[in-house]
């Protein structure tokens, strides 16, 4: 290491290890102190390459600070303060530790200058965030957590494979290359593999099934963390590596509309918001695909604004869940009397995501749309505007209407429990609301931070045409909403999505496995019958005996034991299973280190 450079993630990691030792009465202050230290550290970091570590023949760069990483680092650490404040009354230290490790992973990815470092932090994010789902403690969340983990491990494998392959074609024998823009116009299979790893985390269809599945099941404050970090870190990685990749424009537009369509059908408010993450990240992915300076500015600005307003929306719905125990529209309604301020904050989030003038979405989303029009890709601009009509329809209207108004009367028990949330949750929502409005009103605050500030300074969202365009789209969407209100009343259903393939797809596998086995069985039976003439009866009987006792017994026994193991695994106590996982990760880490050491010894 050249000189000591304090990595921002280290503050969180050390901070979470010390959290267990902090006495209870100091805990809330400590919980705020660490994220504020993180934020302060990120504010004071000069641009340049720091934290270079030479291991074997590679140079790991832990701290590449430039305009692109700074804007993401800034918003991630700001969101860490807000989300921690929001959940500060939670007594379980492990929840805070998991979320801080998760943020540390995300911040580490953002400042990573090479593929190895990026990958390490990338996996750290996946393995720590899964606990935010598990800690909800429901049986469903346990399963949802495992699915989340498996999907992300699969994505990680794609990413790792792509990185190794890519770096080999670049001449370095392992994956120690610097992480920069990949040659997107001459994409190789390796480039595509890396892209798959990134877009899985960005929840680009068809690789998005994990997102609504997991975010709807996480703890009330865990979802506030989840909604900010995984997808936006992926957006950062795409900005860094894939600016100008044409296919991302198409994927982004599909995403933007896909999320909107599923949001119409959704009955759970947090799953609805999760579908709107997919929709909003679609704008960013399309911006990355367009690749112009204005589009990249737009992607970054929208990620920045999105983290705040989506966090705010998840805080509002999380507060409803926390106070009433319900998150389904069919179980809620008329809460304006009980939680009026939560309604106001959620509405501000809704107006921000819908890009109302004076709210944050207006100054960020329009950059991407304009970049589309400027590139003469009119279909991109128009379809994204259509998606923004859908955004207002759901997040601005459906969510507030069916939770706080509507004809539905919740159960007495839910009604009695409903009340305004604790002060810290309110405080987090107030700060987020103020920031959403501030960003919308005072554009230089955000625009000066963008990777191309000169281009951003020339962009003026507040002109008559743009304001009238937006207001007309949104308000006439409102008209449509109230005219078709009857069609929009939520049904108590769930919607099948891509996660069906790994939640039900195993049946197909079972069918394939069963059919050939059965066919073989029938075939052998037939053979016995035909060849089983009198002289062969005896041997046939012996064979039959063998078939019955040995083969069937073995097959049945094997199947039975697999089922037994499966059943035990499924219902294994959480703690034990997680210990096993931790053990497995540790063994993997040791193996990797041993491999590195061994290969180094060989190289000498």
């Amino acid at each position: 290491m050249n000189s000591f450079w304090l990595h921002p993630s280290l503050i969180l990691i050390l901070g979470s290890l010390l959290l267990l030792l902090v006495p209870a009465r100091l805990k809330r202050g400590y919980l705020l102190l660490i994220p504020i230290l993180l934020f302060a550290r990120i504010l004071t970091m000069a641009h340049g390459e720091f934290g270079q570590v030479h291991i074997l023949q590679w140079t790991l760069v832990f701290g590449r600070v430039d305009a692109l990483s700074s804007v993401f680092g800034y918003i991630m650490s700001l969101m860490c303060i807000l989300s921690t404040l929001y959940g500060a009354h939670v007594k379980d230290d492990w929840q805070h530790i998991a979320s801080w490790f998760y943020v540390a992973g995300s911040v580490g990815c953002i400042y990573a200058g090479d593929f190895i470092t990026l990958f390490l932090f990338w996996e750290m994010m996946a393995f720590s965030s899964v606990f935010l789902i598990w800690f909800r403690g429901r049986r469903e969340s346990l399963f949802a957590g495992y699915r989340y983990l498996l999907v992300h491990v699969a994505g990680g494998v794609a990413l790792l494979g792509g990185m190794v392959w890519h770096c080999q074609t670049q001449g370095s024998w392992f994956f120690g290359e610097a992480f920069n823009n990949l040659a997107v116009h001459h994409a190789t299979p390796a480039t595509y593999l890396i892209m798959i790893g990134f877009i899985l985390n960005a929840a680009v269809p068809p690789l998005h099934g994990w997102l609504p599945d997991a975010y709807g099941e996480a703890t009330f404050n865990g979802s506030v963390f989840l909604c900010a970090f995984t997808t936006k870190t992926a957006v950062y990685a795409l900005c860094r590596g894939f600016a100008g990749m044409e296919i991302l424009v198409v994927l982004g537009v599909i995403m933007a509309l896909y999320g909107v369509i599923y949001a119409v059908l959704e009955n759970d408010c947090r799953r609805l918001l999760a579908y709107h993450i997919i929709s909003q990240v679609g704008y960013m992915v399309a911006g990355v695909g367009l690749g112009t300076q204005m589009a990249i500015n737009g992607a970054c600005a929208h990620a920045f604004a999105h983290i705040l307003y989506k966090g705010l929306l998840f805080m509002g719905c999380g507060a409803v869940l926390h106070m009433t125990g319900e998150s389904k529209f069919t179980e809620l309604g008329g809460l304006w009397k009980k939680m009026p301020w939560t309604f106001v904050f959620t509405l501000i989030g809704g107006l921000s995501i819908s890009a109302f003038p004076l709210f944050s979405g207006f100054v960020s989303k329009s950059m991407i749309v304009s970049a589309g029009f400027e590139e003469h890709k009119y279909w991109v601009g128009l379809l994204l505007l259509l998606a923004s009509s859908g955004t207002f329809l759901h997040t601005g209207l459906k969510v507030p209407y069916f939770i706080w108004f509507g004809k539905n009367q919740p159960k007495q028990e839910t009604w009695d429990r409903a009340a305004e949330p604790p002060w810290n949750m309110n405080a987090a929502m107030i700060i987020a609301s103020v920031l959403c409005i501030f960003i919308g009103c005072y554009t230089p605050y955000l625009y000066k931070m963008l990777p191309y500030p000169a281009v951003a300074a020339e962009y003026h969202p507040y002109n008559a045409y743009h304001i009238f365009e937006t207001l007309q789209i949104l308000l006439f969407t409102g008209l449509g909403f109230f005219l078709l209100l009857k069609k929009l009343v939520p049904d108590p259903t769930i919607s099948l999505d891509m996660d069906w393939f790994y939640r039900k797809g195993w049946r197909v596998f079972l069918w394939v496995a069963r059919k050939p086995v059965q066919a073989a069985d029938t075939f052998i039976g037939e053979l016995y019958r035909v060849a089983g003439l009198v002289p062969l009866m005896l041997s046939a009987r012996v064979a039959g005996l063998f078939d019955n006792e040995v083969i069937d017994g073995a097959v049945d026994g094997f199947a039975e034991s697999i089922r037994g193991i499966g059943r035990r695994l499924r219902f294994a106590q959480r703690g034990q299973m997680q210990q096993n996982l931790a053990f497995a990760f540790a063994v993997a880490a040791v193996l990797i280190l041993a491999f590195l050491w061994y290969s180094n010894a060989l190289a000498r």
Binding site: V264, L265, P340, L386, S389, A464, Y465, Q472, T477, I494
Partner: protein
């Protein structure tokens, strides 16, 4: 609480609120047609009077109708869809 009182106040005058909203919509479309210059328009179709009003309304209706149609193709299903024990029921059927 003042906020609750304010919401109550608006709810008691739902008709007036609705009329005001409709007035705002009409005014918006009118102002756009009369005063806002189309210089910034990207495409020719935007020169249609109150184009974005029509776009917003039709877009919203399309999204609702198409999504519901798609949902009723079988995408929307019962809440315990993933919870049944297919392995047991299937095996019972098998035996």
């Amino acid at each position: 609480m003042k906020l609750v009182k304010f919401i109550e106040f608006l709810r008691d005058r739902l008709k007036a609120v609705t009329l005001v909203c409709i007035g705002v919509l009409a005014l918006l479309a009118l102002l756009d047609t009369l005063f806002v210059s189309n210089e910034e328009a990207h495409t020719a179709i935007e020169h249609v009077p109150a184009f974005w009003s029509i776009f917003g309304f039709i877009g919203c209706v399309l999204i609702i109708v198409l999504s519901k149609w798609y949902g009723h193709l079988g995408i929307m299903t019962r809440e315990d869809y993933y919870e049944d024990k297919p392995s047991q029921t299937k095996e019972e059927r098998h035996e």
